[in-house]
Symmetry: C2
Subunit: 159 residues, 2 copies
DNA sequence: ATCAATTACGTAAGTGATTACGCAAATTTT
DNA sequence: AAAATTTGCGTAATCACTTACGTAATTGAT
């Protein structure tokens, strides 16, 4: 018995978290299957740098909508793996810019191929859904962005 | 700019996590609004015990679909707050049973009222969705339960 | 030009979960 | 009844973030 699945929206947070972890784990398997030394958690930063070519910590953090310590931590791993390099900015002494290393750039085409396949397959799963998860999440995100939960709550109860 | 929201299914994990954290935070606000000293993270165990009245660690863990250390950690907080009590089982010396304390039982009616209101409001948000998040998540969970990601992946690519 | 405010980054500690490991009690096998 | 297995629980370490705080560099106001 899984009580949570009976609770409806109440315990929904934990449920989403679990689902996201399952998805992440699935990603690991796919990289391993292709014999590529890459982890799903590296994707956001790596992908960002493949698009922007060079960026400071804060720029990445804002782009990915995470905090800057999160970027620092993840990028440390990527740097250790030799996939990215960092160097102090010339224009602004406070900034440290990140970019893909030679090794990172070399790996990029392979990763892009894998990403494309994952994307295709995910798209298929999603499209087979009667209720589309992506759209549903977007709707909820938008609802939340428009009004805070508490505001909504007060309003709903005429307070 | 939020890059993640442009990535489609690829960075979906992080996105779900963020949404779940937003939901949790919303819950905090509501309890605070009612002046009740209760946190969303306590809900699963507390609710479980309000239904089962007395249960061992493993029973709760299975019921909530989390690991037993998670139950131990959360229940420590609840015990510290005086909302639950624990005692060694008479029948089985390995087991430690948890149940609501007097204080916990006294708080229950108030919490139930708040839960009911949260549930009503969430239901309204959900029902206004064109694509229902709850159903969508359930569909994905079921799809995953039926077949592992990698299996699905190999199959999809005819491997 | 100086002083205040802001920005960019770094570190430390906390969070809510997990995996890995170990032990003792109960159950099953033989 | 002894041995092997399973079960229930506890602890420690880890994970991928977060918040809180600090510092140095830049920008803005007067």
């Amino acid at each position: 018995m899984d009580l949570i699945s009976e609770l409806g929206p109440l315990a929904f947070g934990s449920r989403l978290k679990r689902l996201s972890e399952t998805i992440m784990r699935g990603g690991e398997d796919v990289y391993r299957f292709y014999g590529v030394d890459f982890q799903p958690k590296w994707f956001p930063i790596f992908y960002f740098l493949s698009q922007k070519s060079e960026a400071g910590i804060m720029e990445i953090a804002e782009g990915l909508n995470v905090t800057h310590p999160a970027v620092i931590q993840m990028s440390k791993e990527l740097e250790k793996k030799g996939l990215i390099v960092s160097k102090k900015s010339d224009e602004d002494a406070r900034k440290r810019n990140l970019k893909l290393s030679k090794k990172g750039k070399d790996l990029l085409p392979t990763l892009q191929k894998i990403w494309e396949e994952i994307k295709l397959m995910n798209a298929e799963i999603i499209e087979n859904q009667e209720h589309n998860l992506l759209i549903a999440v977007k709707e909820i995100e938008d609802a939340w962005a428009a009004k805070s939960y508490l505001e909504r709550f007060k309003e709903f109860h005429g307070l």
